[in-house]
């Protein structure tokens, strides 16, 4: 009996290549490579380090908010407030610097606390009051947007007092510090999701909440933590924006909730499953596509059409992949 099982395993790993292709992360990597090859043949300077590093450094803003979105979506909910929660956090940073003349660390802390607070409100409304997650987060999105515009009066607020320009201009390893921070956060989140008890419970709650609750998992607590994490990552996105532009503006983060959902969907996240590595590749695919369309001087509005098409295509492919996988497991 034992031998049979071992044999079975060997047989299935014998078809390794298909297994390899069926890994969600690889499924995203293929279109990235195809895109790169096509664009490079048309425009040879696409695959230079100069251009590619600008893609990498450009993807931190949506990227870091996608990590937060992924946490929430793995728990089976959705967060539409990420863009404006980040925007509001950035505005608070601008206020703390411009009006109250705080130092760098208190400014950053205030910003993170703002984000976490928005996340906490989302989490409490969803878990304790029983509101559906996307109505709650749509409401907080509206509220954050209103507050951000009202506080800033629509004017950009300079943060040059904080002296972040050296941080901004530094290029360790050919990329910016912010990108390295993003990479670090991505890897830590991946490890948290894979190896910690919290990640295990999060996936259990997202996969089947009733079963998770019966197994003794405090689903509400897990989800609220996911929302707070999402708020924190949104605040990180806001901080990156503010530091990058050296000013806080209420137009930052507009429409980012959709883009994070696109990245997360491309990365193969669904309730209960998915990995942060996939999200990273999803973010990369989105930005490679975006920058490739830009260097090929495709019309801006046609770009939107193509991004929509890629989104639909990737999700449909992901669904087909899961069906194939399920059939293989059933066999």
């Amino acid at each position: 009996m034992e031998k049979n099982v071992v044999n079975n395993k060997k047989v299935s790993s014998g078809k390794g290549f298909l297994d390899f292709l069926l890994m969600p992360e690889i499924g995203v990597l293929v279109p990235i490579l195809v895109l790169c090859v096509i664009t490079t043949t048309l425009k040879p300077n696409f695959l230079t380090w100069k251009y590619f590093s600008s893609i990498l450094m450009g993807c931190i803003f949506i990227g870091v908010e996608s990590i937060g979105q992924a946490f929430v979506q793995i728990s089976g909910e959705v967060d539409l407030s990420v863009g404006y929660a980040g925007c509001l956090s950035g505005i608070m940073m601008g206020v703390a610097c411009g009006f109250w003349h705080w130092g760098l660390v208190p400014c950053l802390l205030l910003s993170l606390v703002t984000g976490a607070l928005v996340g906490l409100i989302n989490g409490l409304c969803v878990c304790k009051l029983g509101l559906s997650s996307w109505i709650t987060t749509l409401a907080t999105q509206f509220i954050c947007k209103g507050l951000a515009v009202t506080i800033s009066q629509g004017e950009p607020m300079s943060i040059t007092e904080l002296g972040t320009s050296t941080f901004n201009r530094a290029r360790p390893l050919g990329v910016s510090w912010a990108f390295l921070i993003f990479l670090f956060l991505l890897i830590v989140s991946d490890l948290v999701l894979r190896n910690t008890k919290y990640g295990y419970k999060l996936r259990a709650v997202g996969g089947n909440q009733n079963a998770a609750v019966m197994a003794g998992i405090n689903a509400d607590k897990i989800k609220i933590i996911a929302f707070v994490l999402c708020g924190l990552f949104a605040a990180c996105g806001g901080i990156f924006d503010v530091i990058n532009k050296a000013s806080a503006n209420s137009t930052f983060g507009d429409g980012r909730e959709f883009r994070t959902i696109i990245c997360v969907a491309i990365g193969g996240i669904a309730g209960g499953s998915g990995s942060m590595l996939g999200v990273g590749f999803g973010v990369l695919l989105f930005h490679v596509l975006w920058y490739a369309l830009r260097i090929l001087s495709v019309d801006t509005n046609l770009q939107l059409v193509l991004i929509g098409a890629v989104l639909v295509l990737s999700v449909v492919l992901d669904i087909q992949r899961k069906r194939l996988e399920a059939r293989r497991i059933a066999r």
Partner: protein, 322 residues
């Protein structure tokens, strides 16, 4: 005896879903009027009512997917798309207005069909699927603009500027559509079926209802109504504006939610939606009258929406044991 009977009818009336939206509307109007007596004037309200029809028609459309337990966020851009198509056909290709309108409506139906196929038949999550069409249609709106305005002077534009009974024709078209849908939803077998699908798809399927087809029709209707709204808006402007419909999708959904459409499906009445859309518009107007900064309008919309859903949950909980 007669009095008791009357009481119970009043109670029943007060406990209908529409009333629970109507009473807050009255309260907001009363409070604002106390502080600013010039709020409750014909001029102010006719201004409010000229803004309502477009969002209200989109809200009516999106209520169908919501009632079947799905969601459609492409509605606003579909409205803009249909309007631009019509303007482009009229201006650049010299079509007369009726065939151009038809093509606009067909485009709306086509996008609705694509949404339906993606969500219902392929199994893409409703939010992501309709977001894909949102991007595609939203970008396509601009492709018809070649750097100049798509003006079309037409006798129809003049017709739509005339007031009938103190209201612009859009208002009456909206009322007509709402009456039709109200009758469809409340008094026909089809309306009962569509609510049954949203309430419990499995039971509905067991009862012999073709669930997939109902959900599909809901998406097509959503696209259709959005196209109507976009075409009317374009007629109102007199030229094709590609930004038409930006952000309408969430305003419409907010109107539906405030108006008592349950997001879990199976519940919703056109009258409630109309009152919900009006409530949001009146509240946003009241905010300005009460002296709050206009930038807080959007925050108020969010708070209203969350409050409405909370109120609904509270009421449902109270209703269940009774």
């Amino acid at each position: 005896m007669a009095k008791k009977n009357q009481d119970s009818t009043l109670h029943r009336l007060l406990r209908t879903d529409e009333m629970s939206v109507f009473i807050p509307l009255l309260i907001i109007m009363a409070i604002t009027t106390i502080f600013r007596p010039d709020f409750l004037t014909v001029k102010n309200f006719s201004a409010i009512f000229t803004q309502i029809p477009f969002i209200a028609i989109v809200a009516l459309g999106v209520s169908f997917p919501l009632m079947t337990g799905n969601i459609d966020i492409s509605t606003g851009r579909v409205a803009g798309f249909a309007g631009i198509i019509m303007a482009s056909l009229c201006y650049e290709h010299g079509w007369s207005i009726f065939p151009a309108m038809m093509i606009g409506l067909i485009c709306g139906v086509a996008v609705g069909t694509v949404n339906g196929i993606l969500v219902v038949h392929v199994g893409v999550p409703a939010f992501v699927g309709t977001m894909g069409t949102l991007y595609m249609v939203g970008g396509a709106r601009y492709l018809f603009i070649h750097g100049y305005q798509l003006n079309f002077s037409n006798s129809w534009v003049d017709f739509f500027d005339k007031r009938i009974g103190g209201m612009l024709p859009y208002f009456w078209i909206m009322i007509l559509l709402y009456v039709i849908v109200f009758i469809l939803i409340k008094f026909t077998l089809w309306g009962r079926r569509i609510r049954a699908v949203g309430d419990n798809a499995e039971v509905a399927a067991l009862a012999g209802i073709n669930v997939k087809r109902m959900k599909m029709i809901a998406y097509i209707l959503s696209g259709f109504f959005s196209a109507i709204s976009g075409i009317l808006f374009t007629l109102d402007l007199g030229y094709g504006l590609p930004e038409t419909g930006d952000g309408w999708e969430f305003r419409a959904i907010a109107g539906c939610v405030v108006g008592g459409v349950s997001l879990l499906g199976g519940k919703g009445s056109p009258l409630g939606i109309l009152i919900g859309v009006t409530l949001i518009q009146v509240a946003e107007s009241a905010i300005i009258f009460l002296g709050a900064p206009a930038t807080m309008q959007i925050a108020i919309r969010g708070a209203l929406m969350a409050g409405a859903v909370l109120f609904d949950i509270f009421r449902q909980k109270r209703k269940v044991p009774a």
